[in-house]
Every structure is written in structure tokens, then in C-alpha cells.
């Protein structure tokens, strides 16, 4: 039986002309791939790679806000000046502490949150909505919320602690009536860490939850049949299976946190003195408010090798896990 009369039987026909030639070129995967990749690559080169090179150039110059041209090469002068300042050691130390503390806090809390959200229960929708709110706020606004919550005079937390007897005369944290969360070195840092954990937890949870849901049910059921307790299942099966995903979550979170200066800028302003300073915020203060662009760039550059090392370690680890 034959098909109805046809216009599709063309044999191996090839269109002619320039249009045909361009069309044929685009058929080749390499060519089309380059064309499709180009806009994103060009954009990143123009707005990330080029400014990065300018920033490096800046750090070797003596540019200031008043005279922002990069005309003279001062060698490692800026870096030396930065290293000699007391604030540098503090800022570096704090950056590291804040990052590690935040990452650890997020990993622990996210794992717990993931175990809860991986199951179905009544009211889950509502829980999801409320859980996402910290991340739904712009960073600056969440910082301001916590600024109010941790206010040195009107903090409701203090009020509660006072009522319960933890603060105030006779209390274990007293005799003062207020905690001055943001005015003390370690409490200030702790507040910054807490804020960062609070607002980044929803994102980290989603990333880890995606990995958690990909663990085949049989594996977990097998462990249950074998009689393993919840804790054992968690640590022996779930966490190892989550490892590559956790690394992604950690890496992404860490990069976000290290670069983010709004928490410190709004909560503690790096105070008291310089004790709560972190590298990015200090770079901003030096660069913009003090006007020394070159030094600001130099300070920020100190972040880069630390980040690069951490990222490479994380990537190596993750790809090795991937291969298994």
C-alpha cells in the first residue's frame, strides 16, 4: 500500500546560497555550541574577568578616590601596608571564623531540616512557607530585623531573659539588664554568624533536600530492615550519600557568606573598634569611605587565594565522590 502523494520525499536535498551555508554551519554542534555559549561568556568576561584584572592592577597602583587613575606601579607596597596593620590580622581571623562557624551551623541545621522536610506530614505547606521567609527578605532588611531584635536597649530577647531571671541582678548572665549583643567582640561576631545562618538556611536546605530525595528508597528500607537505629542510618547511609551535594551546598554558601559584607556592615559596623571586622567590609571601608582604592583592592585580594584553595579542595573531593 502506498502513501498519499508526497512532498516530503526530497531525497538528500541541500539548500543553496549564503543562508544555506550559514544554516549548515549552525548544524555542526561545535559551531552552534559556541554561538549559544558566547553571550554568557562575553558577559562574564566583560563584567567579571576584565574588572578582576583591573582590580589586580589597582592593587599594584596608588589610585585613590580623588585620583582614580592607574598610572604608577608601586609594586607590593599596598600589600605590605595592609599586612602591617593590626586590623588586618583581626579581619582575616574573623573572616575565617565567621565562615567556618556559619558553614558548620548551616550543615548541621540543614541536615536536621532536611530529615524533617523529606517526610510528609500535616501542615507541611505552611511549614514550607514559614521556613522560606528568612531567605525571602533582602539581606539588608533581614540584617535590620536582627538589628532591632538585638538592640542594646529594647531587645525582646533581653526582656524575656530578664523575665526568666537569666539576666538582671542575681541572674547567671547578669547583673546587667542587657546583653549588648552587637557591642561586644565575640557576641557581635556570634550575632553576625547567627544572622548569616538564619538567612542562608532555607537555600542550603533546598540544595541538600534535593540530594536527600535522590537517595533510593530501597537503600534506606534495607537499613531499617537490618535493624539500624535512626542515628546510625543518618550517619552511615544518609550523610555519605549526601556528601557530594553537601559539598555543593557548602561551597555555594561559603562563597556567598565570605563575599557578603552587609551583615557586618549593618549589625556591628565592624565594632567595637576593629574587633569585629571582616575582610570584605574592611576593604569597603578602606576603599570607598577612606578613599584608598588601591589598598581596598589589595585587601580584597587576600580573600582570593583562600577562596581558591577551599574551592579546589572541595571540587576535587566532589569529583572523586562522583566517580564512585
Amino acid at each position: 500500500m502506498n502513501a498519499p502523494s508526497t512532498s516530503t520525499r526530497q531525497g538528500a536535498a541541500v539548500p543553496e546560497g549564503l543562508r544555506g551555508r550559514i544554516g549548515d554551519a549552525l548544524e555542526r554542534p561545535g559551531v552552534l555550541g559556541t554561538v549559544m555559549l558566547a553571550p554568557a561568556i562575553l558577559y562574564i568576561v566583560a563584567f567579571v574577568a576584565v574588572p578582576f584584572c583591573i582590580a589586580i592592577a589597582l592593587s599594584f597602583s596608588n589610585a585613590t578616590v580623588g585620583d582614580p587613575t592607574i598610572d604608577s606601579f608601586v609594586g607590593l607596597e599596598n600589600f605590605r601596608a595592609v599586612l602591617q596593620q593590626e586590623a588586618f590580622v583581626t579581619a582575616l581571623r574573623n573572616s575565617v571564623i565567621v565562615t567556618i562557624a556559619t558553614v558548620v551551623g548551616i550543615v548541621v541545621l540543614a541536615t536536621i531540616a532536611v530529615e524533617l522536610l523529606a517526610r510528609d506530614f500535616r501542615g507541611k505547606r505552611l511549614v514550607q512557607v514559614l521556613f522560606m521567609m528568612p531567605w525571602a527578605m533582602p539581606v539588608a532588611l533581614s540584617a535590620i530585623t536582627w538589628l532591632w531584635l538585638l538592640d542594646s536597649q529594647f531587645s525582646p530577647i533581653d526582656w524575656l531573659l530578664l523575665k526568666v531571671g537569666v539576666l538582671g541582678p542575681g541572674g547567671p548572665l547578669g547583673p546587667a539588664q542587657h546583653m549588648y549583643y552587637l557591642g561586644r567582640e565575640w557576641l557581635g561576631l556570634g550575632s553576625v554568624v547567627f544572622l548569616d545562618i538564619w538567612r542562608t538556611l532555607p537555600l542550603a536546605t533546598i540544595i541538600v533536600l534535593a540530594g536527600r530525595l535522590s537517595i533510593p528508597r530501597e537503600r534506606l528500607e534495607q537499613a531499617q530492615i537490618d535493624g539500624a537505629s535512626f542515628m546510625r542510618i543518618l550517619f552511615r547511609i544518609i550523610v555519605p550519600a549526601l556528601a557530594p551535594v553537601l559539598i555543593v551546598a557548602i561551597l555555594f554558601t561559603a562563597l556567598l557568606v565570605i563575599g557578603e559584607m552587609s551583615s557586618v556592615a549593618l549589625l556591628t559596623r565592624g565594632g567595637p573598634g576593629h574587633s569585629g571586622q571582616i575582610l570584605p567590609y574592611w576593604a569597603y571601608l578602606k576603599g570607598i569611605e577612606s578613599g584608598d582604592l588601591a589598598q581596598g583592592a589589595a585587601i580584597s585580594l587576600f580573600l582570593f587565594p583562600v577562596l581558591a584553595a577551599a574551592a579546589i579542595v572541595a571540587l576535587r573531593f566532589a569529583s572523586r565522590l562522583h566517580r564512585d
Binding site: M1, S7, A12
Partner: protein, 350 residues
């Protein structure tokens, strides 16, 4: 109707030679099976014909015109994938129409063709469903419809029955053959299942290590395998291959005859077999045994399988010895070094 020809076709992936020189010419309107185990190069060959891979060297011609370098959309080749590759976001009708829409066929003609193809494959009641709501057999028909609707010159099937449940495979096989007879479209049928190939094809090309081992009708391949690979690959259970020093003697399981049933002349080999166990398969019995006499001492204990096409149990039991003979007409000889078929037997008997 088209004649497909490959000339010295080669494909390298780095140092791996997936296809190492293949010359095939199909008949016009023929169903040609490409049979081989995984890694044999059959999939690469198929992808080159479809235009999904470029050959490293060599040529592919359709009706005498080279199609190398021409992208798939300009070739008139239709392909049915192993997983059927139906578009999940479209319903069945849209899936079938897609090749026509892509080629900008006028609406009226589209409708005619879809109706025609729907009739042939009897999928009229599936047209509004999404692929996720189809059974395996139904998906296969839709995939066939989508391929057929373009009225292609060449069909390529990539193991189309392997995703189907075993029970419906024979029926689906029959339907495929009927479809081919009806449409007369030259078809390249790629499979690793020798039963499928033998049952469906006009001719079979056995492929291994990127080369064609033998090409011929199913019967030719079955009765006259050209080398050890073909002999061992075709037939289930496979041909018995007995190592006799510098020659290998082959005989199909059904050609292991009880001495008591056969006349003495025309006997190539007389074997004493120790029966190991018997298998009842409904229409036949399989006899598993080991050779304990009739060939040189050093070669004994090789295993053989015999086949008895009857429902009554054969007159033997495990542990017993029986004499089986292989007639000259049924014996096939292969050179041990090259694996190639030899015509004269120089067999050492004991």
C-alpha cells in the same frame, strides 16, 4: 525503495576502532538485519547511516548518491529508537505530525498522512494520549507511525523489541514483518538478539569487532556459518564446537543423533557422551552431556548440548552413557588458528 551502500566505512574514537571497514550493499526494499553483540560496532554503523555520527573515512550511499556530510534533517532516513524517544510534552497525534510540521508540509497533506499511518498501525484510539500513558507495545507503534509518516527512503530500527515484555515480543516481531511487507521500505534492523534477526530479516549481516563477519540469508548463516564467531553466535542453544587439535568440529544440537537411529555410513564423528542432565522445554528436550569417547583423550570432557524435538522424554537418564553420531552432511570444520571455515576434514579420531 532505496539501495543503501557502505564502502570501506570506518569510525575511530581515539584509538578505538568502533567500525573497522564495512562494505555492505542492501537490496532494494530489503529488511537487512545488523546482528552483533554489544561493542560490535553495529550501533555506530547505524548512527552513521542516520547521520548522528560522521564517519572517519569511507562512504555511505543511498541510491548511488553519497550522503556523508549531509545532516540528518536532509537525509530521508527515519529511525525508531530503542527507548522510542517519543516527545513527552506532546500527545500522540502531535508526535506523529511532528516530522511533517518540521518539514513544513501543507496542512491538508499532513492530515491525510496522519490518517493513513494511524490506519496502518491501528492506533486511532491513542491519538489524544500522552506518551507516559502508553504501554510498551503502544509506544512502539506510535514510534513506528512517526517514522512512517514521512514516507522515508530508509528505515533504521535500533533494537526496537528489547524494551518490550517477553510475551508480546513474538507478536510484535510478526507485526513488524507485516509492516515491512506492506510498505516495502528498505530497512536496517540493528539487534543483538539472533532469534529476532533470523526471524525477521531477508538477510543478516553479522558484525563483530567493527567488521562484517558474514552476510547472507538467515538460512545460509544458520547452515553454513563462515567462521567460528558466526557459528557460535547464531542458534540457541549455540552450535556445539569440539576442539580436535588443529581443527574445530561444529554441529548443531539437533544434529547430535543417537547412533541407534542412524545408519553407519556418512558418519563423521562417533561420540560417547556421558549425560549430565536433561531439560524439558515444552516442544523439545535439551540434553546436556560431556564427551567421554570418540575424540583424542586430551580433548575429552568438552561439553555438548543435544536437542530432541519431541515431547516424550528421551530414552536416557543422567549419569548414563550414550553413543551420538554426527553425519558428514552436518559437520562443519573450522581452522583453530584463524577461526575460518575449512572444507576438508583432517580429523584425528580415537
Amino acid at each position: 525503495m532505496a539501495v543503501l551502500e557502505t564502502r570501506a566505512l570506518m569510525k575511530h574514537f581515539g584509538r578505538i576502532r568502533a567500525v573497522d571497514g564495512i562494505d555492505i550493499t542492501s537490496g532494494d526494499g530489503e529488511l537487512l538485519a545488523i546482528l552483533g553483540p554489544s561493542g560490535s560496532g553495529k550501533s555506530t554503523l547505524m548512527r552513521m547511516v542516520a547521520g548522528l555520527e560522521e564517519p572517519s573515512s569511507g562512504d555511505i550511499l543511498v541510491d548511488g548518491r553519497s550522503i556523508v556530510g549531509i545532516p540528518p534533517k536532509h537525509r530521508n532516513v527515519a529511525m525508531v529508537f530503542q527507548s522510542f524517544a517519543l516527545y513527552p510534552h506532546m500527545n500522540v497525534r502531535e508526535n506523529i505530525r511532528f516530522p511533517l510540521v518540521a518539514r513544513k508540509v501543507p496542512e491538508q497533506e499532513q492530515r491525510e498522512k496522519v490518517d493513513w499511518v494511524t490506519g496502518i498501525l491501528e492506533i486511532g484510539d491513542l491519538l489524544d494520549r500522552r506518551p507516559t500513558r502508553l504501554s510498551g507495545g503502544q509506544m512502539q507503534r506510535v514510534a513506528l507511525a512517526r517514522a512512517l509518516v514521512r514516507d522515508p527512503e530508509l528505515f533504521v530500527f535500533d533494537e526496537p523489541l528489547s524494551s518490550l515484555d517477553a510475551q508480546i515480543r513474538s507478536q510484535a516481531r510478526g507485526e513488524l514483518r507485516e509492516l515491512h511487507d506492506r510498505t516495502q521500505i528498505t530497512t536496517l534492523y540493528v539487534t543483538h538478539d539472533q532469534l529476532e534477526a533470523l526471524g525477521l530479516a531477508d538477510r543478516v549481516a553479522v558484525v563483530h569487532n567493527g567488521r562484517v563477519q558474514q552476510i547472507g540469508s538467515p538460512r545460509e548463516l544458520y547452515e553454513n556459518p563462515g567462521n567460528l564467531f558466526v557459528a557460535g553466535f547464531i542458534g540457541d542453544p549455540p552450535m556445539n564446537l569440539l576442539n580436535l587439535g588443529d581443527t574445530i568440529v561444529g554441529a548443531r544440537p539437533e544434529h547430535l543423533l543417537l547412533e541407534t537411529d542412524t545408519s553407519a555410513e556418512d558418519v563423521a564423528l562417533n561420540l560417547d557422551i556421558e549425560i549430565e542432565h536433561l531439560e524439558f522445554l515444552g516442544a523439545e528436550w535439551l540434553i546436556y552431556g560431556a564427551v567421554s569417547g570418540g575424540i583424542p583423550e586430551s580433548e575429552r570432557r568438552q561439553r555438548v548440548i543435544g536437542r530432541l524435538r519431541q515431547a516424550e522424554p528421551p530414552p536416557m537418564r543422567a549419569g548414563e552413557h550414550r553413543q551420538f553420531v554426527i553425519k558428514n552432511a552436518n559437520a562443519r570444520y573450522f581452522d583453530i588458528a584463524t577461526g575460518e571455515r575449512k572444507s576438508t576434514p583432517e580429523v584425528a579420531l580415537a
